[in-house]
Amino acid sequence: MKAKHQRLILALVALAGVTGAGVLGASALRDEAAYFRTPEEVAGGHAKVGEPMRLGGMVAAGSLKRLGDGVTIRFVATDGKASVPVQFTGIVPDLFAEKAGMVADGRMRADGVFVADRILAKHDERYMPPQMGDMPKDMKVAAGK
């Protein structure tokens, strides 16, 4: 095959590849990216039931309760403006406590409770997600699974 033809074919294959990859990436982002919401947004009705999302907020003082099976906890996540009840089954992370910040992955259930699959951890005690920038500086973020 002539070198010119070979280069043309290679260019077309590369173009097809790039387009294919772009389409793959864009569609995957649209389907799989999870929105980060604050309790205020959830209370305002922005979170769809069952859609994977991330919830950030502070664990309200006095709201942490452990259910009968010993491994499920319920607490209330708040950002000072609204509150969302959260349920999590798992070992509570290091650094997780009332009046501390937390970020959880999960879904909203139809009854208004956020069911968390995962709560996030951080290496640096000074971690503060920018979305919660106006919260007091001495809060630390906890994590769990």
């Binding site: 074919i9 799989e32 990216a33 491994v71």
Partner: protein, 654 residues
């Protein structure tokens, strides 16, 4: 005194970098030899002085000199010595100094040992390296000075996060940094060769050991980091697609493509444009990674403290370096384009596809990592996690593995497919056997893990295929290296797929005396006891795991509490207990005490049986070993040693 000396050494090293750069530029333009003679010693001296400065910083941490702001913020007199020293690089300023140290030392090593490359290309390379150093020196000296003093020394420091007090983690950053910054040498060689228009086998041969070396360190760093996260974070996961993990994976992908490409350029004078582009992309991605981690743009498990001013500085620096290199490439595009032609069905053809797939995966991982930043700038807060990456990277990686089995069996320039046709069926048969075995006996397995195990079986057999019909004692070391590394990929892939497909989990609140069953194990929870460590107290559980065969193993998961320092709140960490067996690992985590409905004191226990999980890190180690074999096989030193041994043998029989 020590801190001031350290700072002075940095300024001197920066001045030397300036000298190398200016002399190098002038030499390339005018050809005056005496300028060239300045550049090599200046590069070596810059490396030595920067290393000395870093040593002084370590000394400050070792002595717990609290008058230095960095030590006060990141260390504590009660920390064990190993972690005091590791604290030197466990923060932004210190790790930047480490970055510069490796940048300087690698430039110095190139200056000392590279003798075969044409003089003007080498000088241009050293000048490029000096230019890189200069930008980062400016960043360090003007906005991230590690040697800042506090007006009044506090009585003690604020300590490191206890999560980071782990010996494995002490060495994880330096290993990765050698990898990231080692790619800078490839970048500089590419820039140097572009400047002097010498894009050919010579510059590729000079660059190859640096590419292999830094990639080996990246592989080891990523593997070690993954294992650390696995046992330390207590979640049982080994990769989270966290931005900082991605940021180490992206240069690794570029390096993987580059090491193949540079070998082709060195031996066949083909894929020259790919080699130059990948060399530029590799270090560019290292720099992008640095920027992402330090600028506070991304909130992540790993981010250093938020500082927009530093972010802007790094962004400008990166724009200059990456933009400059790309512009140079565009200007010199004519010199680069022509290489030797080859057919599609050839080893070069397979490697082009290899490069394309690796770069595509790289781009998609980069997209997933940057998308949240872009979305946030537009007002939407989004997180991109494993679902996205599994969807895009998973299938592409599997296709890449399939290409990997064909490449080594193809001849250079043009192949008729005969070798492929004769050796592949066995590999495909192995894959089919695994596939049907899993479908019939494996229970419900997800599509991706199923394909993963099938491809792993094919790759494992096919990676050995290049060795068939060869005299094994005369097979060159680089070929063995290729076989071992490709086999390592199969092992790691099998581990990932098997763990994902067959993992078993139990989560209970157990009272002492109760037994929990997970997979084949009966795990008896005997109770907990309080213990004390050097700087923590802990609650330690005792679990006895028994198998049907009658073996008994004792596990001690613990929950540690570190006292709050300087008035801060106490922090807690979880120490998982691991039991490694030939078939996998039993992973136990102890949670908090709960009072059960019956009033008894119970403890949360989470147990996993993870089949073949340790194959993941074994695979990673094999990949690094294979690459090391390939590197040694071509090392000048080895060739010299062999020649001397052959000569001695001749003399004996003379």
């Amino acid at each position: 005194m020590i801190a001031e000396l350290g700072l002075a050494l940095l300024w001197m090293a920066a001045a030397l970098a300036c000298l190398s750069l200016v002399a190098g530029i002038l030499f390339v333009r005018s050809g005056r030899g005496e300028l060239a003679a300045l550049v090599r010693p200046a590069s070596v001296a810059q490396g030595v002085l920067t290393a000395a400065s870093f040593a002084l910083l370590i000394a400050l941490f070792a002595r717990s000199d609290m008058s230095v702001e960095l030590v006060a913020r990141n260390s504590h007199s009660l920390k064990p010595m190993l972690f005091k020293i590791a604290g030197a690089w466990g923060n932004h300023e210190g790790s930047m100094l480490l970055w510069l140290t490796i940048l300087g030392l690698s430039g110095g090593l190139v200056a000392l040992f590279e003798k075969r490359l044409r003089e003007d290309t080498l000088i241009a390379t050293l000048a490029a390296q000096a230019a890189l150093s200069l930008g980062f020196f400016a960043f360090l000296l003007f906005s991230s000075n590690p040697f800042n003093r506090l007006p009044i020394a506090p009585p003690d420091g604020q300590g490191l996060n206890p999560l980071l007090q782990d010996p494995g983690l002490a060495f994880h950053p330096p290993t990765l940094y050698v990898g990231y910054v080692g790619l800078s040498v490839a970048f500089s060689f590419a820039v140097g060769a572009l400047v002097t228009r010498e894009i050919g086998p010579a510059f590729a041969r000079a660059m190859r050991p640096w590419v292999l070396g830094s990639w080996i360190f990246l592989t080891l760093g990523i593997t070690a980091g993954s294992y650390w996260a696995y046992y330390e974070l207590g979640w049982g996961g080994w990769w989270f697609w966290d931005p900082v993990e991605n940021v180490s994976l992206i240069p690794w992908l570029a390096g993987a493509a580059l090491l193949h490409s540079v070998a082709v350029t060195a031996t066949r004078n083909a894929l020259r444009a790919w080699t130059v582009m990948l060399a530029v992309i590799g270090f560019s991605m290292s720099m992008v990674g640095t920027f992402i981690v330090r600028s506070g743009l991304l909130t992540s498990v790993h981010s250093f403290a938020v500082d927009p001013e530093r972010g802007t500085f790094l962004l400008v620096l990166m724009a200059i370096y990456i933009g400059g290199a790309l512009m140079l490439f565009a200007l010199r595009a004519g010199t680069v384009a022509e290489g030797k032609t080859f057919a599609l069905l050839s080893r070069e053809g397979a490697l082009v596809i290899n490069n394309l797939l690796l770069t595509t995966i790289l781009a998609l991982v980069l997209l997933g990592t940057l998308y949240p930043i872009v979305a946030e700038a537009m007002g939407e807060k989004i997180s991109v996690g494993p679902p996205y990456y599994n969807k895009v990277a998973g299938p592409l990686a599997l296709i890449l593995c399939l290409v990997m089995i064909a490449g080594p069996l193809l001849r250079w320039r043009r192949d008729d497919g005969r070798t492929l046709w004769s050796r592949l069926p066995l590999a495909l048969f192995a894959g089919a056997a695994v596939l049907f075995g899993l479908i019939l006996f494996g229970g419900s397995v997800g599509v991706l893990p199923l394909l993963g195990m099938t491809v792993a079986a094919i790759v494992a057999v096919a990676s050995l295929a290049p060795l068939w019909k060869r005299n094994l004692r005369r097979t060159p070391l680089p070929v063995w290296g290729m076989v071992v590394a490709h086999f390592g990929v199969a092992v790691a892939l099998a581990g990932m797929a098997a763990e994902s497909a067959f993992i078993k989990e139990r989560l209970v609140a157990a009272a002492p005396g109760e037994t929990v069953r997970v997979a084949d194990f009966s795990v008896a929870f005997e109770g907990v006891e309080p213990i004390a460590g050097p700087n923590y107290t802990a609650v330690r559980g005792t679990l006895v795991a028994s198998t049907p065969a009658g073996d008994r193993f004792v596990l001690h998961p613990a929950a540690r509490t570190f006292p709050g320092l300087m008035g801060g709140a106490p922090t807690e960490t979880n120490e998982a207990a691991l039991l490694t067996r030939p078939g996998g690992q039993l992973y136990a985590v102890l949670g908090q005490p709960v009072t059960g409905a019956d009033g008894a004191q119970r403890y949360q226990l989470r147990l996993w049986w993870k089949p073949l999980v340790w194959w993941i890190w074994l695979g990673g180690a094999l990949i690094a070993i294979g690459a090391a074999m390939a590197m040694l096989g071509r090392a000048q030193l080895l060739a010299i040693w062999r020649a001397r041994r052959a000569r001695k043998r001749e003399e004996r029989f003379a």
